[in-house]
């Protein structure tokens, strides 16, 4: 592990924070998705791929594409999530939801926001010492 993290710069650690948020989002959504509004597997699949990609690019940031590839997967996961949860958020807004606001959905929402924000921040930072 120390070898992998050798020569790493702060950006990669910020990326790992984003990845931790993604993992939290994946787990929380798996729980939150068991409500009336349903679970869309594609969200977790995309987040899972994003997490794998993040770890691969943490090992080595090929061509400096790490943030872009990871964001493409995280972003796609977020887009599918937003699409599938449009009703949930609109119902909460109008106060007509069939399910109450759950801790799992709060965690999911916060985790998605953290994932996006930290991944964007990491992109503005160096990931490796030799680049």
């Amino acid at each position: 592990m120390s070898g992998i993290l050798k020569n790493k710069r702060p950006g990669v650690f910020v990326n790992l924070i984003a990845t931790a948020f993604a993992l939290a989002a994946l787990i929380a959504y798996s729980v939150a998705g068991q409500d009336s509004y349903g679970f869309v597997p594609a969200v977790d699949v995309l987040l899972g791929l994003g997490i794998v990609a993040s770890l691969v690019f943490t090992w080595h940031d090929f061509f400096g594409f790490g943030p872009a590839v990871v964001m493409a997967l995280f972003g796609a996961g977020f887009a599918v999530f937003l699409n599938s949860r449009f009703m949930y958020y609109s119902h909460q807004y109008y106060g007509i939801a069939s399910d109450p606001i759950t801790t799992a959905m709060i965690v999911t929402t916060v985790a998605f926001a953290g994932m996006i924000v930290f991944e964007i921040i990491s992109a503005f930072m160096r990931w490796e010492g030799n680049r």
Binding site: F65, P67, A76, N83, S84, G95, I96, A123
Partner: protein, 987 residues
């Protein structure tokens, strides 16, 4: 190097925006019809290939411009609140002196309840004081001066109208420095508000200690204290009623846009209050028989149900929950008044301890009830005379003379009630009888002092019949004496009946009655109305409502909703006036669902799939039929078969199983599609089209009508409190006109469920606790709304009298209570008002979801009531509201973007199931039949074709996607280039 990182960071941002935009674009395209409705755009246009000389505006706006329409709408709102505000108490405090300086108190004084708190039927324009007038503005418009210091104090607190009563500020903090200058009167505003999705918490409709302290503070400020109860549901105002320093109490529901203007006029005396209560005001808000059953219970074997539930269809979030209407027919005043009569007559253990909340000893009406259903005062006095009452054939006709005997002009309400005999037959067969029930009502014109007017009220005898579900299994009219009485509310009418029976206060009556206000009809023989035929068919706006005849036999349909029939006698004890003490229930009985109930809840064995369609039906036939060829034709006209043959399977599925508030156009038959939405509670839930954007003459400073929310009407409770059928009809007409400016073809409403108790979340968009009040008001509203081509969709059919666990909970009820309360409430709008759309509810009736109930949708709605329209589900959020419900009488699923029933409603499944195919085809037939005779086809003629176009937002979204895609690609190329350069530098 820094540029490199900046480029990478920006590229990542672009990647994020691009992926998110693709998701949103996909969502918007999927919900194309709904987006079009929101933006006032269309994905289709009409092309006339004929000479275009035909006038195709079959229905026309009646107003010249949106400015003149808005002026009329605001004036109507003012009129409704003026006539729907109820004066509960007045010791001469009101009206206030002209130009009085007043202090307004209470958090609600600056945060009024204008409508409900959530959902599409809530009031719009929240916080816009130009549209929703503040109380201060309303009072000032009536010539009053309002204490600015106290007003600013409450404003500065920033409390929301939804804030809990417990947040009422401590009266000790009210700045009283210049209060002396504004002490002509202290006006205390106490509010309660409810909304969709939840029922109010226990105790919410009780006054808090802080509120009582506030009233005491008002009594220190002025010797004239007026309390305004701003609540669509009944609040327990016992302490105010008994407080001699409270000079006047006004009750008003959600005020609507200009309600405070009317309120100011009432306080000043410019308008004389004439509203009457549509719910009884009990001394304790929790004392009704129905409230003991509020909420839900879970089946004791809920785990078995969940285990049996189909994983695809599900059973709904509330699917393992149920409630029981153990109160039977005794909802609202029917409970209190009937028990009252039995205490006077000393029958049925009425004076027992069961159900006592405020009584000091045994159950006592005077201590349990503050104000009865139908009660309301005026600034003048009236004398009413029941001139004549006849029952000829099947029509009751009452003639009532009203004279203003006071000193100021005013309007009066005539309320006709009946007491049917409670016979030995009834007791033997569990037929319950309310001691008094509303038959019909009417309102006078503005009568000057000494002026009089004679009103005639008519009603079918069918509407005073009782439903005997045990023996006759039909409506019955008992033999015996029927007492028809008038009075200022149900209690006064009942007292008049008791007086006619020779009873006085010495027998325990709360007041002496007047037997001269009673007339009797002796029905010499027991009559069974198995197939009621009505002498008069039709509808008038002059207090006459007549059923249309249908050939259907009326008999028991809802056996599966009665737990005593499902699980055995004695499972539920229904409240009976034969034994109030013994039949009082104080909680929902715990039951386990048997296998039959589990099968129905999980919807597993109920549906029988048919054979493949084969040659049984044709579809997608190339033909030259145009929808307009069916306009004006009978539902059974053969032209419909040819038209339906032209529908492609995909078009049939889209018509019944796509979109939330719209139906897509069908190009092959030139059907232009529809635009449907909520709601009659407060007005259309869609903004006005931008084509009307212009400087407003109705509101200063508002330049765009598209920024004005049409939801401005006062809550339905105020509309009903007017007791003015003609005004209700005109309100329907105004809502119809509203639909022209909002671009709607249908309006989902009015809400016709009952106020079973004050705590139900959506009481603000339902009329009353009384089924006949709802029957009449619903009929008038629907008739007015549909008078000019708009389709009305009364909701939520049926038994949706609470919000707790609304997605899938079951209602268990005996058929008498179902027929006489919940169903009768809808019957007027359908059988008299001829509603062409009905929205079904989210709950179950018995173990069946209403949208799957063949008995409710086909047997009762269509066969018994002659419904010729189509049904639509409420928001089909959960999968138990399934596509296969089409085979049980449901016609259309309401599906939000991202929600679909593709797994059930697809071409392959339809073509392999002739039963479902036939049902979907029939649903299309009903939907097209309704809309071809509505304003939906305005602009369409037999020579018009519909062609697809691309609305601006679709182009914009695609452009944005392309731009961000290109920018992302450029960013990636830039990263590649800079990466290559770095590599070279490195080498």
């Amino acid at each position: 190097m820094k540029l490199n990182l900046l480029s990478r960071g920006l590229t990542v941002i672009l990647v994020f925006i691009f992926t998110t935009m693709l998701g949103l674009t996909s969502l918007a395209f999927e919900a194309r019809a709904d987006v079009n409705q929101m933006l006032g755009t269309s994905s289709y246009k009409l092309v006339d290939i004929g000479d275009a000389s035909e006038d195709t505006n079959y229905f026309k706006k009646t107003t010249q411009s949106i400015d003149s329409f808005m002026d009329e709408k605001l004036a109507l709102i003012e009129e409704i609140v003026g006539e729907g505000t109820v004066l509960l108490k007045n010791d001469g405090t009101l009206p206030l002196a002209s130009g009085a300086s007043v202090t307004a108190l209470g958090k609600a004084s600056t945060a009024l309840v204008y409508g409900g708190s959530s959902g599409n039927a809530a009031i719009g324009n929240t916080g816009n004081s130009e549209i929703n007038w503040t109380l201060k503005r309303g009072l000032e418009s009536a010539g009053f001066s309002v204490n600015p210091t106290v007003w600013s104090y409450y404003e500065s607190l920033g409390l929301d109208y939804k804030s809990d009563p417990l947040t009422e500020p401590d009266p000790a903090g009210i700045p009283v420095d210049d209060v002396t200058a504004y002490s002509d009167a202290a006006i205390v505003v106490l509010s309660r508000v409810s909304g969709e999705g939840n029922d109010a918490a226990d105790g919410y409709y009780e006054l808090t200690n802080t509120e009582l302290s506030l009233v005491a503070k008002a009594e220190e400020i002025s010797d004239k204290v007026v309390v305004i109860v701003n609540s669509p549901s009944a609040l327990a105002v016992n302490a105010l009623k008994n407080d001699s320093k409270v000079g006047a109490i006004l009750q008003v529901g959600g005020l609507g846009a200009r309600g405070t203007k009317a309120l100011g006029s009432i306080l000043s005396g410019a308008v004389n209050p004439s509203g009457k209560l549509t719910d009884i005001y009990a001394a304790d808000s929790r004392s009704s028989a129905a409230y003991q059953m509020a909420g839900t219970a879970e089946y004791t074997n809920a785990a078995d149900i969940l285990a049996a539930a189909d994983s695809v269809l599900g059973i709904g979030a509330g699917g393992t929950k149920y409630t029981v209407f153990s109160e039977g027919i005794y909802v609202g005043y029917k409970y209190y008044e009937t028990r009252y009569e039995d205490t006077v007559l000393k029958e049925g253990n009425a004076d027992g301890s069961a159900g006592t909340f405020k009584s000091s000893g045994s159950w006592n009406y005077g201590e349990e009830v503050d104000y009865s259903f139908g009660y309301g005062l005026s600034y003048t006095t009236f004398e009413q005379e029941l001139v004549d009452l006849t029952v000829q054939d099947d029509v009751i006709t009452a003639v009532v003379r009203v004279r203003n005997t006071g000193l100021v002009p005013g309007k009066d309400v005539v309320q006709l009630y009946v007491q049917s005999p409670y016979t030995a037959y009834d007791k033997e067969n569990c037929v319950e009888k309310s001691a008094i029930q509303l038959v019909n009502f009417g309102k006078t014109a503005l009568l000057q002092p000494n002026e009089e007017e004679t009103l005639t009220l008519k009603m079918d005898t069918y509407n005073i019949a009782s439903y005997d579900y045990k023996n006759a299994k039909a409506w019955i009219l008992d033999d015996g004496t029927y007492y028809f009485a008038i009075g200022n509310g149900a209690h006064e009418a009942l007292n008049n009946v008791l007086a006619a029976k020779g009873k006085t206060v010495s027998d325990g009556m709360t007041a002496e009655g007047d037997s001269s206000l009673v007339k009797t009809w002796d029905n010499s023989s027991f009559t069974t109305l198995t197939n009621p035929a009505f002498t008069e068919n039709g509808f008038t706006t002059q207090n006459g409502l007549y059923h249309y005849n249908s050939d259907a036999e009326v008999t028991n349909r809802l056996g599966d909703a009665d737990l005593n029939l499902l699980l055995g006698e004695g499972t539920v004890t229904y409240l009976t006036r034969s034994d109030w003490q013994g039949s009082w229930s104080s909680g929902i009985a715990a039951v386990a669902a048997n296998q039959k109930m589990i099968d129905h809840i999980t919807f597993l064995p109920v549906y029988e799939k048919g054979e493949p369609v084969g040659d049984t039906y044709q579809y997608g036939v190339e033909g030259a039929m145009n929808i307009m060829m069916a306009r004006g034709k009978d539902y059974d006209d053969e032209i419909w078969e040819d038209l339906l043959d032209q529908l492609m399977v995909e078009e049939m599925i889209a018509t019944v199983g796509k979109n939330f508030g719209a139906i897509d156009p069908i190009l092959g038959i030139s059907f232009p599609g529809t635009s449907d939405n909520d709601g009659v509670g407060s007005g259309p839930a869609v903004n006005y089209s931008s084509e009307y954007d212009q400087g407003s003459t109705a509101f200063s400073g508002i330049a765009k009508y598209s920024s004005v929310d049409p939801r401005m009407y006062p809550s339905e409770t105020i509309q009903a409190s007017t007791f003015n059928q003609e005004l209700t009809y005109r309100t329907g007409e105004m809502l119809s006109e509203d639909c022209y400016y909002a671009g709607l073809t249908s309006l989902w409403g009015p809400g016709l469920d009952l106020h079973r108790h004050p705590y139900a979340g959506r009481n603000f968009e339902y009329y009353s606790e009384d089924s006949m009040m709802t029957y009449i008001t619903g009929a008038q509203m629907v008739a007015g709304l549909q008078s000019n081509g708009v389709v009305a969709g009364p909701k939520h059919f049926a038994f949706n009298d609470q919000e707790t666990d609304r997605y899938g909970f079951a209602v268990y009820v005996n058929e008498q209570a179902a027929r006489e309360n919940s169903l009768r409430a809808f019957e007027g709008a359908v059988a008299v008002g001829k509603a062409m759309n009905v929205m079904t509810s989210l709950n179950r009736i018995g173990p069946d979801w209403v949208g799957e109930s063949d008995e409710l949708q086909n047997d009762i709605l269509r066969t018994e009531w002659g419904f010729m329209g189509y049904t639509i589900t409420d928001n089909a959020l959960e999968p138990y509201m399934c596509g296969r419900s089409i085979a049980f009488g449901n016609d259309k699923l309401m599906l939000l973007p991202g929600n679909n029933r593709d797994s059930e409603l697809n071409k392959e499944s339809l073509l392999n199931d002739v039963n479902l195919f036939a049902a979907v085809r029939e649903a299309c037939h009903r939907i097209l039949y309704v809309f071809v005779n509505s304003k939906a086809v305005n602009g369409v003629s037999s020579s018009v074709q519909i062609v697809q176009t691309t609305p601006w937002w679709e182009t914009a979204l695609i452009d944005i996607d392309v731009i961000f895609g290109c920018l992302t690609a450029l960013g990636i190329v830039g990263m590649l280039a800079s990466g290559g350069k770095k590599d070279k530098e490195g080498k």
